[in-house]
Symmetry: C2
Subunit: 503 residues, 2 copies
């Protein structure tokens, strides 16, 4: 073994070498990676943190459920913790890296079968390695009239990983967990659980009805470390006859409040069926220019400079987008309603806007912002509030204040999902600049604390922030998570530290 081996906590180098030997028997030597060079792709965390703290001990790539069971048996024997990843591209949250140093990455990318697409029932059943691009290609090959809903990092990631992280997209199917139906989960002891209708012999309903009988368990296996999901059912959206994407510009920074107040009732009445995304000026500027072209000083770019540059590109302080779907006849009256509502709220409407993520065009929409400062550092923060104008403004001000304290810009996409608003905020920085990385790390910690201290809890966290966020939800919640962990994974083999859940 190479000298710089990172060992799992409490596992001797002899034991670890034996474990690797046995694992090679299970999946084949080519699919057990323990050389530092081979592991490099798993260490590109992008987030502001010390890579050393998250170095894996190795990676193993099973090709089947039987492989996964074999791996679990070996890892249970040697107490080697396993960090399951689907495509390993949890960008802005730590990518493929484990929550604690020395875990063995269980890379499921070879399990990449599209097991079924039902064009009548509009469902699919996929393995963890399937990417959105792959599923999209499959649908196109079969001339399918089904749409995918995908997150901002689109083609590179996959529906299993994104759903388990409770990711969201941009169409009416944006809530990915709500549109998942039926899981196959390999438990720590190797038993294979099918949730919902999936464990009934001969059931044809696994992908059509999610609750099954008795407690509904799917939620348990999201943002957690209670099992390894090896199959996931998906609901796919029948392609609408037509759609129309609108942009509403608010030329006043306070327009954020009016936008939220106008969007919420239209979302709740169903007139707008997808999330209403409000991109701020800086975020949209990242698509057309770099920070250095605008500002060379220290601290964040002043608002005046941002707004002036933005105006030159037709970008307002706040830019709201959403879509209407249906036949042209169905879209017509809804278009009248939203036009009247947003115009009287002070918005300026551009009614033939294009945003592929709200239809069926895979794109990498969330990567443009990496160009702003360059250097590839990115962390996302997602505090939740009620979808009220006042809360959106308060979150904006918290974010600007804390970011400015650390000399960073405010790039945000507050999104009216429904009754809830997710103030999705990006920290971008030069990853290679260690000072910039440290500043971003401090900022991320302080920003998370500022949001939670004000009652705005985070609904997703990167590996560097998991314990802090889990603590914000209190001791009882953490104790319950731990009791469930012990019930389903008594040896604590699966992803220790995930979502702040330790053994």
């Amino acid at each position: 073994m190479p000298s710089r081996t990172v060992l799992p906590a409490g596992v001797s180098s002899t034991s670890f070498a034996r474990a690797l030997g046995e694992l090679r028997e299970v999946v084949g030597a080519a699919y057990v990676l323990a050389d530092r060079d081979e592991l490099a792709p798993y260490e590109k965390i992008m987030i502001p943190a010390a890579e050393d703290d998250y170095e894996p001990s190795g990676a193993i790539l099973p090709a089947s459920v039987e492989h996964v069971q074999g791996v679990l048996a070996v890892c249970s024997k040697y107490k080697v913790p396993l960090w399951p990843i689907s495509t390993g591209r949890n960008f802005g949250y730590g990518s493929a890296a484990p929550a604690t140093r020395g875990q063995l990455i269980l890379d499921l990318k070879r399990m990449d079968r599209i097991l079924e697409v039902d064009p009548v029932l509009c469902t699919a059943l996929v393995e963890p390695g399937v990417t959105y691009q792959q599923l999209q290609d499959h649908l196109k090959e079969h001339n399918s009239a089904l749409w995918l809903d995908f997150p901002g990092d689109g083609p590179l990631v996959g529906p299993v990983g994104n759903t388990l992280e409770r990711g969201t997209g941009s169409t009416p199917y944006a809530d990915h967990l709500a549109h998942a139906c039926g899981m196959e989960v390999v438990l720590a002891d190797g038993r294979v659980l099918r949730t919902g209708m999936g464990s009934l012999p001969g059931s044809a309903s696994w992908q059509v009805f999610k609750y099954g009988y008795g407690p509904y368990l799917d939620g348990l296996f999201t943002q957690s470390n209670f099992g390894i999901v090896t199959k996931l059912g998906l609901w796919l959206m029948p392609a609408p006859a037509a759609y129309r994407t609108l942009l509403v510009r608010y030329w006043d920074d306070q327009g954020l409040a009016a936008a939220v107040e106008t969007a919420r009732p239209l979302r709740l009445s169903g007139t707008i069926p997808n999330p209403c995304r409000l991109s701020n000026a800086t975020l949209m500027l990242t698509e057309v220019m770099r920070r250095a072209e605008l500002f060379q000083g220290s601290g964040p770019v002043p608002n005046d400079a941002i707004f002036a540059a933005a105006r030159q590109h037709g970008i307002a302080p706040w830019n709201l987008t959403f879509s209407l779907y249906g036949t042209l006849e169905q879209i017509g009256p809804s278009l009248d309603i939203v036009t009247r509502a947003f115009e009287s709220s002070g918005g300026e409407i551009v009614s033939d806007y294009h945003d592929g993520s709200q239809s069926n065009e895979l794109n990498l929409s969330s990567f443009g912002l990496l160009n702003w400062v360059g250097g590839g550092g990115l962390a996302w923060l997602a505090p939740v509030s009620p979808a009220r104008g006042g809360d959106a403004i308060r979150q904006r001000d918290i974010a600007r204040t804390v970011l400015a304290m650390h000399g960073m810009d405010y790039l945000a996409v507050p999104t009216v999902c429904g009754r809830d608003l997710h103030h999705l905020t990006a920290l971008v920085f030069d990853y290679g600049d260690l000072q910039a990385r440290q500043r971003a790390k401090d900022c991320l910690r302080d920003l998370a604390a500022a949001f939670t201290d004000n009652g705005y809890g985070l609904h997703r966290a990167g590996i560097g922030l998991m314990d802090q966020v889990a603590r914000s939800y209190g001791a009882i919640r953490r104790d319950v998570n731990r009791a469930l962990k012990r019930a389903l994974d008594p040896n604590g083999i699966l992803a220790p530290g995930k979502s702040g859940i330790h053994r």
Copy 2:
């Protein structure tokens, strides 16, 4: 104590007397019921089963979370099992009675506060004793523009019990768990867990965002015995500007298939936003006549007689209803689409039908069928299939065959919920006629078995059927339920046998 005391399994009469004494200290003597006469209201099971098998040992009525905690402490000490009920009107599934004899009913009806209704965010927070009638009255008093969605037994039952049983309604908010947001759960050891955003200090988002951080737990506390839900958040539907309920009659018994095939794509495109209910002729006849007026023979009423009588009342073999909601301008184009689709599928459309349950009118729609044979016996069975015409026909034929074997009529409301069809089937019988009750009991067992043997799993079961249905989902699923039970309720105090989950 009266002589006919029913003791919890394994608890001596001395211990039980001591437990009752301590429980009187907790909630007050008036709220501990142990006399058989006082317990009679809890024993009206309506379903085909022997009441003796489900007799409670007593009932206790706490008025607060602190009371519930006190009760749990006493019951843990004496190992007295507790069967929590909200309003105790789980009609057709066993009403208030426990799944096994001798449990102490924890009747939460005194905890009946409407803690909050937010007219802006369209949410509510209620206690278990709140009924739909009470919530409806509250909304009307406050001139609220919010709609409730309620099950067929409407005003008498409440949102907490119905949601925890995964009940459904008739509007776009029909999936009650999907429209619940945030729980307060008293665990067996007395700790109080708030799910979702509820455990974050100062959170204003408990009722607006359900997933929170880490595993999403709400599903765990439905159809289970893992905790006592003492508060539940609800999403309420903003009243639409208008609505239009349609009836589509299929004058051919095979029209069931066409109806399902036509409804499914319209549901999935969102053109029809609520479940499409298909009432069969017999079910609708119960509203206008009694069985004895039509048929005096033995065995089920022949189809010809049913269809002939139905036709006289304008009732078809299959009668599909659904609604369109929105402004009149929005409803117009959707009405054109559904009219074209159902007409070309062979349906006859009545476009100004009235069905209060699809709007905001509380009613007792599901009780009319009790008049069919009289005598108050009722059991519901709800097998799930994909929403395909062929499956609906197959389920119909299974139901008719098994029911006929036991001399019973086929009363059914196959419902296209979305991708799934729930073939909701009622067994009605004269509860006081012990022979009829036994026949219904055998029929219920055989019908459940026939559905599950054909791959159509049940998604809800009455107390007499819980073990059978749980078994149909296999050993691994049951073992996982049991592991979770032991993690959250190691003494097995809460509702042993619920959903087939024993300690």
